[in-house]
């Protein structure tokens, strides 16, 4: 890292200008084919260099070394670099820096030459920079200005050249960014991180368009994209005529390569790309002759490169504003500059607000639609001019109002205003800052005061608008802005708006962000819906470019596209960002935008998978803490779950190949996940939400920080991307099983033969129960076995579902099914026997217990209840037979009773006998109440029931209503 930054300062604006200028201008002419390329040629000179106190440098150096250590660069490499640097410093190498304003910071060459290697200065330098500027600018400015001239021109040319190609490219698609989910399917680069990434002239790839296909040799796709963009190239998603190169290391014969072959697009390997970049850097080429090693060392990986740039840009811009100004003034017409100064009080968003509808970025068709609607409004709804009010032809699909919707910053309000203005309407804007409550019904009071009333008046009073002399009084249009913001204070606002629309004699334009908002549900029916879409990044970049040019800002188009992409379609935000950046720099490059917007990017939805990918990803270790928190908080439920599911799969980049190290890191991560769980319990159970950052630190950030690296598969056939948290499903299975176990438990308790707890039941009884239930089926003759098992089930009130539960709970992965070896015929016989038996037998207490969570009681139980009553009542055989017949019909569809819930209550209400109440409830009202407990009081009950049994049974069978039947 240090060497990069140092290079910066090595960079040439050497004081012996004659020489420097000579070389630059000499080189810039021939390098027209690569327009932006002129700068690099500044090598070979040791500037006479101003001496600078090295106080800062050494301090910075130390800091960087620390950083470097953290970044886990091998220590040995660092020292090597130092040596290399000292060796090669004379061949000052240039990096992206285009502006030459940083002469101020050029290091004394003598110093560089020594092995002390003073390093660079960082952002801290701004204050100092200014101070120094005062010293240096004086003598340097003039020269600087001259100095600058040559590079500026080629740059301009380069841009022009690119611009022509730009719009055509990739209009269809927003570049290959959307690949995150696919990303997992792609293999990792086979030699990931093993090659040195070259660095070349910042614009060496300018005007070239690349398409990346398949897996590259050493770069992740994102890295390659970044590399290309950084060097001024463009990356698109699919091959087209404009594509210059298809970047791929293996011909996988996909759509892209087929198409490329068709179009004759050149194929480029990763090495080829590197060579191109290398080639752009003559200084480096020179170095290569000398010492190959040093070149390799200099070429550091991408992220490392970024920081020097930033440093440079910052120091540059803040320190040498004067120089900048002069640059600008030369690059752009003088009068423009003046204008800039005049308008400087306006924000750019206001200043560059579209003046005509055609200026609006994107959504032109919607704007036209809006214009047509508005233009025809009067004929449509007022029959203006014709006076044939009676037979106005009203297009049924025509709406009296229009609803513009779309995310903020797309120009909805602007469009509405522009269109109205253009058509000569007078816009009356009502927005969220106005009270928009329901109009006072006593409108007779006049419009005084209430805004809503005045809206009503405005809308309904034709006289105010159309009947007036048009020349004097323009027609009015009501623009209701932010209608989805009508809330709290605006009671009845939407309803009132609808009423207004119905009676309106003027057009109404409603504007909202979220068309699907609940509040607007009724409104959308009365409006013509126009949904604004995000403008493409090319459209936005074009407009931004115009603005930048108008403001005298040097921006490259790739950078603007990046900006457009980052703000997620929000034009307003893009302009604001641009203005903000213009304060500190006059030349904005791709990396500046990247850097800046990383922090201030608009919140975007990020899927938990993408978040986990990033946390564990190849540069997960370089994320800032707030980014990590943002990522983990993007879904505080799922992200920890995904982390927990996948952390074992990562080979930590810090651990190398050492398995022991990896295991111990995994252990630490697991420990931390466990801690996170404890915190999570506190959060959820005791609502300690202030702990949520602690929780996400423990459950996401620490594990990811420990283990980020390369993912590898642990199972055969597993796809190498993050699995969904398996525990979620398992937890619900566990919940289900617990419930089933509880059912079984309740049944066992109800049988009153056992008294154990649920846990004991699972841990100790279950094995034996299973054996008792299945072993006979396997070993004994069929009939005997079935009888034995059914008897056993009856003793313990084990129902068929419980049988299944027992089997289910005894299943372990990798072990055989407990039912193995039981012939299907025997199973069928068992089922039959059990059903048969349950028809005959008396009701069991277990059948009467309502089970928690079981919403589908069995009709069978309803049926069974009957004979049981009789059994208790000691009824005679005849009665029993009768009811049995009925039972059998009822039990034919034991499963059909799903929607029903049987509630039975037996209550003794008087001393004389018993009144039986059977309640059948719909399943909604289901559940445990008072259990049917009960036998009546012996003999007295029996006589009562006798007569009732038949009818009761019918009721049970009928079963759906919630009606409680009472019988005598």
């Amino acid at each position: 890292m240090p060497q990069d930054i140092r290079k910066w300062f090595l960079k040439p604006h050497d004081k012996d200008k004659g020489n420097g200028n000579g070389s630059i201008s000499a080189n810039s002419a021939p390098s027209n084919s690569e327009p932006m390329n002129s700068e690099p040629f500044r090598g070979g000179k040791e500037g006479s260099g101003r001496r600078k106190t090295s106080k800062y440098f050494t301090a910075e150096k130390k800091k960087l070394d620390d950083e470097k250590g953290k970044a886990e660069l091998p220590a040995k490499r660092k020292t090597q670099n130092d040596i290399d640097d000292s060796r090669k410093s004379p061949r000052s190498r240039k990096i992206q820096k285009v502006d030459d304003n940083d002469d101020d910071f050029v290091l004394p060459n003598e110093k560089r030459g020594s092995s002390v290697t003073p390093s660079k200065k960082l952002k801290s330098s701004s204050g100092r920079g200014v101070a120094q500027k005062s010293v240096h600018v004086d003598d340097g400015e003039e020269d600087n200005v001259k100095d600058l001239e040559p590079p500026v021109k080629p740059r301009g040319r380069g841009r022009g050249g690119r611009a022509s190609g730009a719009p055509a490219i990739g209009r269809g698609r927003g570049g290959g960014q959307g690949g995150i989910m696919n990303f997992g399917e792609r293999k990792d680069p086979p030699h990931k991180g093993e090659k040195e990434v070259p660095e070349g002239a910042p614009d060496c790839l300018a005007g070239l368009t690349f398409v990346i296909s398949g897996t590259l040799d050493s770069l992740e796709r994102e890295e390659a994209e970044d590399l290309i963009k950084r060097h001024g190239g463009r990356v698109t998603g699919s091959v087209s005529k404009k594509t210059n190169y298809l970047l791929c290391d293996e011909d996988i014969g996909g759509v892209k390569s087929t198409k490329a072959k068709e179009l004759g697009t050149a194929f480029l390997t990763e090495d080829g790309l590197f060579d191109m970049i290398h080639a752009s850097n003559p200084a480096k080429a020179l170095a290569q002759d000398d010492s190959k090693k040093s070149v390799e060392n200099v070429a550091t990986s991408l992220p490392l490169k970024r920081s020097p740039q930033k440093v440079e840009v910052k120091s540059n811009s803040s320190a040498s504003k004067v120089a900048c100004e002069s640059t600008i003034s030369r690059a752009s017409p003088v009068k423009k500059k003046k204008q800039n100064i005049q308008d400087s009080s306006l924000t750019w968003t206001e200043k560059h607000r579209p003046k005509v509808p055609n200026d609006i970025v994107g959504n032109q068709s919607l704007v036209n639609q809006l214009r047509n609607w508005l233009a025809h409004w009067n004929e449509q709804f007022l029959g203006s001019g014709t006076k044939q009010n009676g037979k106005k032809k009203i297009d049924p699909s025509a709406k009296k109002a229009v609803l513009l919707s779309g995310a903020p910053g797309m120009g909805k309000t602007t469009s509405a205003k522009l269109v109205t203005q253009m058509l000569g309407f007078q816009a009356i804007e009502v927005n969220a800052s106005d009270s928009r409550g329901k109009a006072d019904s006593k409108i007779s009071k006049g419009i005084g005061g209430s805004n809503a009333n005045s809206v009503k008046e405005l809308v309904s009073n034709e006289a105010l608008n159309s009947k007036m002399d048009r020349s004097k009084h323009p027609k009015a249009v009501l623009i209701m802005d932010e209608v989805d913001g009508m809330s709290a204070g605006d009671r009845g606002g939407v309803a009132d708006l609808i009423a207004s629309i119905k009676i309106s004699k003027i057009p109404i334009i409603c504007i909202c962000n979220d068309r699907y908002s609940q509040k607007l549900k009724s409104l959308v029916n009365y409006c013509l819906l126009l949904s604004f879409r995000k403008p493409t990044k090319q459209q936005m970049a074009k407009r931004l470019m115009q603005i930048a040019n108008a403001e005298g800002l040097q921006v490259n188009e790739i950078a603007l596209e990046e900006l457009a992409e980052r703000v997620n379609g929000d034009m307003r935000m893009a302009i604001n960002q641009l203005q903000y950046m213009s304060l500190s720099m006059s030349n904005i490059k791709y990396d500046d935008i990247r850097q800046r917007l990383l922090s201030s990017a608009k919140d975007e939805d990020i899927s938990p998978f993408a978040a986990v990918d990033k946390l564990f990803g190849f540069n997960g270790g370089r994320l800032r803490m707030d980014e990590r928190i943002d990522l983990s908080m993007s879904d505080p439920d799922l992200v920890p779950l995904l982390i927990q599911e996948n952390y074992i799969n990562y080979r930590p980049s810090s651990g190398g190949k050492d398995e022991m190290k990896r295991m111990s890191l995994i252990a630490r991560a697991a420990e931390s996940i466990g801690d996170g769980d404890i915190v999570n319990v506190q959060i959820r159970r005791y609502r300690q939400w202030q702990l949520s950052q602690t929780g996400c630190l423990a459950s996401c950030i620490i594990p990811a920080a420990l283990l980020h690296g390369q993912r590898e598969t642990l199972e055969q056939g597993e796809r190498n991307f993050n699995r969904f948290g398996g525990w979620l499903g398992k937890n619900s299975t566990m919940g289900k099983n617990l419930r089933l176990l509880e059912d079984l438990h309740v049944h066992l308790l109800a049988s009153r033969e056992s008294n154990s707890g649920r846990e004991t039941l699972r841990l100790e009884y279950l094995t034996l129960l299973l054996k008792q239930l299945t072993d006979p089926l396997r070993e004994m003759p069929k009939d005997e076995a079935v009888k034995k098992v059914v008897d056993f089930m009856n003793v313990y009130s084990i129902s068929q579902e419980d049988f299944d539960t027992i089997v289910e709970l005894s299943k372990f992965q990798g072990h055989g099914n407990p039912l193995e070896g039981i012939p299907p015929a025997v199973k069928a016989a068992l089922t039959r026997a059990y059903k048969e038996d349950s028809k005959l037998r008396m009701v069991r207490a277990a059948d009467l217990v309502t089970l928690p969570g079981k919403k589908a009681p069995k009709k069978r139980i309803a049926a069974i209840l009957e004979p049981s009553d009789e059994g208790i009542g000691e009824e005679n055989g005849g009665m029993l037979a009768d009811s049995e017949e009925e039972n059998s019909s009822d039990t034919e569809d034991p499963d059909a009773g799903n929607g029903e819930k049987m509630q039975k209550e037996l209550q003794s209400l008087n001393s004389k006998g018993i009144e039986v109440q059977v309640e059948l409830k719909g399943s909604e009202s289901s559940s445990a109440k008072k259990k049917p407990a009960g036998r009546g009081k012996g003999g007295s009950a029996s006589s009562e029931k006798k007569g009732n049994s038949g009818s009761m049974d019918k009721k049970a069978g009928r079963g759906s209503g919630a009606a409680a039947k009472r019988k005598r």
Binding site: V681, K730, M734, G735, A750, T767, S810, F812, L906, A928
Partner: protein
């Protein structure tokens, strides 16, 4: 492994006002001996002592309890001891001693209570086992909301005096299982209830470890420690059962079962019967089948011993999930895993692994 996911309780349960336990006349749907299946029951239930006099192990405690309830008023009781030592059996026998055979006529209820907890109402579902004179419940079943069970429901039950006290005991009994799993809040709520309503209600608490019951509760109860039966006692019981069942017991077989049972009588009887189901007549070197889940844990242990790699870790995690899915409580899994690992590990590692096992078991029991 995540233990933070609480079981989700069903919110759809209809809303009933809390039922007053004894305000509504109870008509037990008594099924006493409607079914007499005789021999088909599991031995562990079949040979469970029904009265205090029948107890084979802990005879001394049984006699003391008998004296306690016959000669004087019954205080609150706290039974504690390892599982399979006979706490529940003693409690049931005690209830029978106090209330007569009626105590056996229990009904099972799955009841829903609607509890008003400040801003929201909580529906609680709990299975209770009740007779005319006692109610048995496991408040810890509702998880972390057990506090409401104690504060609202138990209090309500305790408040209401039995209606018909003529000729009977003037109190009823609440049997609370697994009090050691009650949250601290619930235990605190319990202690006032114990004092305030002691005139009409006695509590019998039952738990494995008294150390997790707060001092305040312990001091309000008569603590009854039920030791795990010795192996000799277990052998005695097994031989008793064998005799009743008319089985031929090879010499030493019962002793082997007893040894394997970890001094849990229930375990011993259950595995005894498992052996019986598996193979009869017995042979003295017959394999005593382990519990299904124990077998699985042993498998995990040998997996762990074979290889320590991320891949193996992943597989082991899958197997642990499997155990959890099958409703084996995590702390039991950890305990068993430790047991299995200790059998296989080098001596010098044993200490450390015990330390960590204790640490993590504590984490998963105490903290959440």
């Amino acid at each position: 492994m995540s233990f933070a996911h609480e079981p989700v309780y069903n919110n759809k349960a209809p809303i009933f006002p809390p039922l007053l336990l004894s305000a509504v006349p109870q008509f037990l749907f008594t099924l006493s001996q409607v079914v007499s299946f005789g021999k088909k029951m599991l031995w562990v239930d079949k040979y469970r002592p029904k009265t205090l006099d029948q107890a084979i192990v802990h005879q001394d405690i049984a006699q003391n309890l008998k004296k306690l309830v016959t000669e004087q008023d019954c205080p609150h009781l706290l039974f504690y001891g390892p599982s399979g030592s006979g706490k529940k059996t003693l409690i049931i026998a005690l209830l029978r001693q106090v209330f007569g055979p009626g105590a056996e006529k229990v009904k099972v209820e799955n009841r829903t209570w609607k509890v008003d907890a400040g801003s929201r109402t909580i529906d609680l579902e709990l299975t209770t086992l009740s007779s005319a004179n006692h109610v048995e419940l496991s408040p810890s079943d509702v998880g972390f909301q057990d506090r409401y069970i104690v504060q609202e429901i138990i209090k309500e039950m305790a408040k209401n005096r039995p209606i018909d006290t003529k000729g009977k005991r003037g109190y009823k009994v609440l049997v609370l299982n697994e009090v050691d799993k009650l949250s601290r809040e619930a235990q605190h709520s319990l202690r006032r209830t114990m004092e305030k309503y002691s005139a009409s209600c006695r509590l019998i608490l039952c738990c494995n470890s008294s150390s997790k019951v707060t001092e305040a509760i312990r001091s309000r109860c008569l603590n009854v420690r039920i030791n795990a039966p010795t192996e000799e006692e277990i052998v005695k019981v097994l031989e008793f059962i064998g005799k009743k069942e008319g089985l031929q017991l090879p010499s030493g077989f019962a002793a082997r079962i007893a040894e394997k049972s970890n001094r849990s009588l229930r375990r011993a009887i259950l595995s005894f019967e498992t052996c019986r189901v598996q193979q009869y007549p017995f042979t003295s070197n017959q394999v005593i089948p382990p519990m299904d889940w124990e077998e699985y844990v042993a498998e995990i242990a040998s997996d762990i011993m074979k290889e320590q790699s991320p891949k193996r870790l992943f597989q082991v995690r899958g197997k642990l999930y499997e155990l959890l899915i099958n409703c084996i409580p995590p702390e039991i899994v950890l305990k068993r895993l430790l047991y299995e690992l200790l059998k296989r590990l080098d001596v010098e590692l044993k200490h450390e692994i015990c330390h960590w096992a204790a640490y993590y078991v504590t984490l998963c029991i105490v903290l959440p």
